[in-house]
Symmetry: C2
Subunit: 336 residues, 2 copies
DNA sequence: TATGTAAACTAAAACGATTTCGTCATATAT
DNA sequence: ATATATGACGAAATCGTTTTAGTTTACATA
């Protein structure tokens, strides 16, 4: 079928060992031979097959990525997509391709089976249900892995500084004069818990009460849920003056709901987002939000994982926090 | 290292040939042996390695995907991401994984080299610069390929019905009473050309003039560009009453620009989008737009490509059009 | 001249599967 | 009883590389 190392060797009058060595940067090859081989390879369109090489070396230069966007939610999950993008770019620069891990393949294998099937060198959990047995089995396997936005005991984890970032955001709202601040939670995860703690602690530090009815449950990245949550809070007998939404997409929903209810933002009510998506700075009022450093998170994840795979250093385990940035925006301000 | 077919064979007291045959559904295996092998494999955690299998069969069950989102534009490219998602899901259901083709790997290989390196069975061009030599080289190689949203002579192509969809959209605007309609073009591609033709033809059919200054160039999926284009058109001495934007993201920019200019939509000016992204139906006024059937496009692409790879049928070449759907929305209406 | 050394190259055994022929019972047909 | 067919399994070559342990040649040294 294709052109193999054999063809190059034949054309050069060399053994396949020599050709292989050229492509693997062995030093016991003369400069002439090296250029000859490289040139001939180029000429006849040869490129070493990663498959054969992987079989021999047991290294696929492939990273498994678990990216369980609850598909077809329609909204491309802004935060995770951006992290994934950075991770992918960094991995590629280091010579690794990405394979999405799923259980759709063939006779529906498990995540771990899929990883073994594809011989991935490592796995990145970008967006997953960390409580499902299948994911746990994967994390606890012998395959090196890195986890984004969740803490797994003893594993390499990359997280936003959710706690202190939320402190910043809450403090900002308070400094804008708000005392009655509501908090809309996303799905129950360790991230949600960290953010809620940051919120609670800051409120307490400022001696501000948080009635139970000001903490409600909703979902991440679902504008419709944002509409819903906002309307619920805005029609409370004792309406909060500021609402912290789970993220920017829900905050956009909230903004919309406010408009429908003839409430001006921020004159009548303030709204905070989280994530720092682009669109949030395009709408009016611009969202007050925390911009998560998705780029750094993705890069870090790829680097740590690959270093572990290549055993370059041993200080790549543990939890790494990436700070976010407060974007003041315009959706939080003093009451009229 | 890992568990191989040898381990299963040993444990079962069978030859590796027999074990292999079980996994490949050969018929000359007794039912008892089959279940024995399967059960033992399960027990010791064996899964056949795609790498070894690929080396022997020359089939990687991997599809290369060219997805050249001009990265870091920030806006995840809604249309292409959704197509990609459908393509990926369909491919996975048929037993294929996805590998992104790029030239970042190692010593920067070309797209074609990357494909050979990974032994992909076929390639899908989802989002690419079709005029670059590298892409052309790829398309003209012997690897089966399918192209989305562009026509490549003699290749399998999947496109939206841009021409007639734009006719629908334009006709709708006209029926709302508009006579002065402007058209903002995205980057110059065959898709852009088809849409512009659909627009022009419909205008002509309705005996409506299109001044040159009503056709302007902009870019796809860039809200800021949308703001820019809108402001330009809205400050024209003879301002159009309706503006057709390249897509929903730019239309959202236009909506924002209108608000800034104190123009009510659609009372003062009408705006059309294209794509049918979710957010477009969440903002007020809801966008009048064409919803492209990304799901069908992605599915079709995967199916056609895989059928070609597996040589199931021969009628998978040529151009396939997928109709879009007019979403009336609220951003187009009669003038005040 | 004999010996040691270094540079440049090669032979051949893997890696983990697939697949083509065989082989060897046993069952059926003649 | 002999020939043939069938069912169930195995031997071994092979896919395209990598890598170890040579081999060969040239040259320097004793």
């Amino acid at each position: 079928m294709g052109i193999t190392i054999r063809d190059v060797a034949a054309k050069c009058g060399l053994s396949i060992s020599t050709v292989s060595k050229v492509f693997n940067n062995y030093t016991d090859i003369s400069e002439e031979t090296r250029t000859l081989v490289l040139r001939t390879a180029q000429n006849i369109g040869y490129y070493p097959s990663s498959i054969a090489s992987a079989l021999k070396t047991n290294r696929s230069y492939n990273l498994g990525v678990l990216f369980q966007a609850e598909s077809h939610s329609g909204v491309t999950h802004s935060f995770f997509s951006l992290v994934l993008d950075a991770l992918k770019t960094t991995a590629e620069a280091l010579g690794y391709d990405i394979t999405f891990i799923n259980h759709n393949i063939r006779n529906s294998m498990t995540y771990l089976e899929h990883c073994r099937y594809r011989n991935v060198d490592g796995i990145a959990l970008v967006c997953a249900n960390f409580y499902s047995p299948e994911v746990i089995e994967l994390v606890e396997s012998e395959i090196p892995c890195v986890i984004i936005d969740h803490i797994f005991e003893g594993k390499t984890c990359i997280l936003s500084e959710n706690f202190s970032d939320m402190q910043k955001l809450t403090q900002y709202a308070i400094e804008c004069g708000h005392k009655k601040i509501a908090f809309v939670k996303g799905e129950q995860t360790s991230v949600t818990t960290a953010r809620l703690s940051g919120f609670r602690e800051t409120m307490q530090k400022n001696r501000l009460a948080v009635p139970n009815e000001y903490i409600i449950e909703s979902r991440y990245d679902n504008p419709e849920e944002g509409v819903h949550a906002f309307k619920h809070l805005a029609t409370l007998p004792d309406r909060p003056t500021c609402i912290i939404m789970p993220d920017d997409n829900t905050a956009l929903g909230a903004l919309q709901a406010a408009a429908e209810m003839q409430l001006r933002v921020p004159q009548d009510i303030s709204i905070c987002g989280y994530d720092g998506i682009r669109l949030g700075q395009l709408v009016r009022p611009r969202l007050t939000t925390i911009r998560q450093d998705t780029r750094t998170m993705g890069e870090l994840a790829a680097e740590k994982l690959i270093k572990r795979i290549e055993r370059i250093s041993t200080c790549d385990e543990g939890v790494f926090y990436v700070p976010g940035q407060l974007i003041p925006g315009e959706s939080v301000g003093a009451l009229k």
